[in-house]
Homo-oligomer: 153 residues x 2
């Protein structure tokens, strides 16, 4: 079977030492600032990144408690009803890849200061991609999350 | 050093047999339809996905020509000037992860019919996440891509 071996391109530096400190659930705000410290050998790959306001960060859930079985249906923090894992951002997924969109505030050499951190201090970063475009708002449907928000309000 | 081993959760089925067939560069439209065929054992993870109009697909560049050296600065199809790889979607990156936002048209059991395919037939899928929100348009800056578009028009 195909396998792909991923290695960190850098590590997150931020205030969150434990997952309980990270805002979760409906209406959670992600305003925390932190740094994406890219390996010095890869610094040239950041050339011209200052022109972008937002970045997509792919990272690894590196501190999951391993469990023998993967639950394919989970009840996420933002709802009281169960949903398929691929409709959630739950950490327990077949491949432990997290995705966060952050706002780029500034760069110092190989270190990016960003806002919108929702990962733990020391999290391995797998990739950074530019955030290029939005889905038109009138075309976007947000499934059970929109329903959970409507029930709460 | 940390390493993360990723395995496909399924495979793309689409018309593109060669990368030259995939639209690239400024103004490229991604309207092609295809299927995300998820492994039958993971089908329950798709529960409730029909409620979402758009999905983030993470996938593996599985047919890269291996090269001894990774170029950290590249000239992408959408510009005639060089930029750091982390400001581009270039396939040749430290971890071979691709990201595509697709529109979900329908689901049949473990198979998702989607629009917006820009990967090759047979591409391994690593993860699917719900597309939840946009960056406010007035806050979004698109760096060299916006400049290249302005020069072209």
């Amino acid at each position: 079977m195909d396998q792909f071996n991923m290695r960190p391109i850098g590590y997150v530096s931020c205030p969150f030492k434990d997952t309980t400190e990270i805002p979760k659930g409906l209406g959670a705000k992600h305003e925390t600032e932190g740094r994406l410290n890219i390996l010095p050998a890869l610094e040239a790959g950041l050339t011209d990144i200052e022109g972008y306001s937002h970045l997509i960060v792919l990272w690894a859930f590196d501190r999951l408690e391993s469990s023998a079985n993967l639950d394919l249906i989970v009840t996420p923090p933002s709802d009281d009803r169960p949903h398929g894992i691929f409709t959630t951002r739950t950490p327990n997924r077949p491949n432990p890849i997290g995705l966060t969109v952050v706002e780029l505030l500034s760069r110092e050499k190989n270190s990016l200061l960003v806002r919108g951190i929702d990962m733990l201090d020391g999290t391995p970063i797998l990739d950074i991609k530019p955030y290029l475009s939005n889905i038109p708002a009138e075309k976007l449907r947000r499934g059970w999350l929109a329903e959970a928000e409507a029930r709460k309000s």
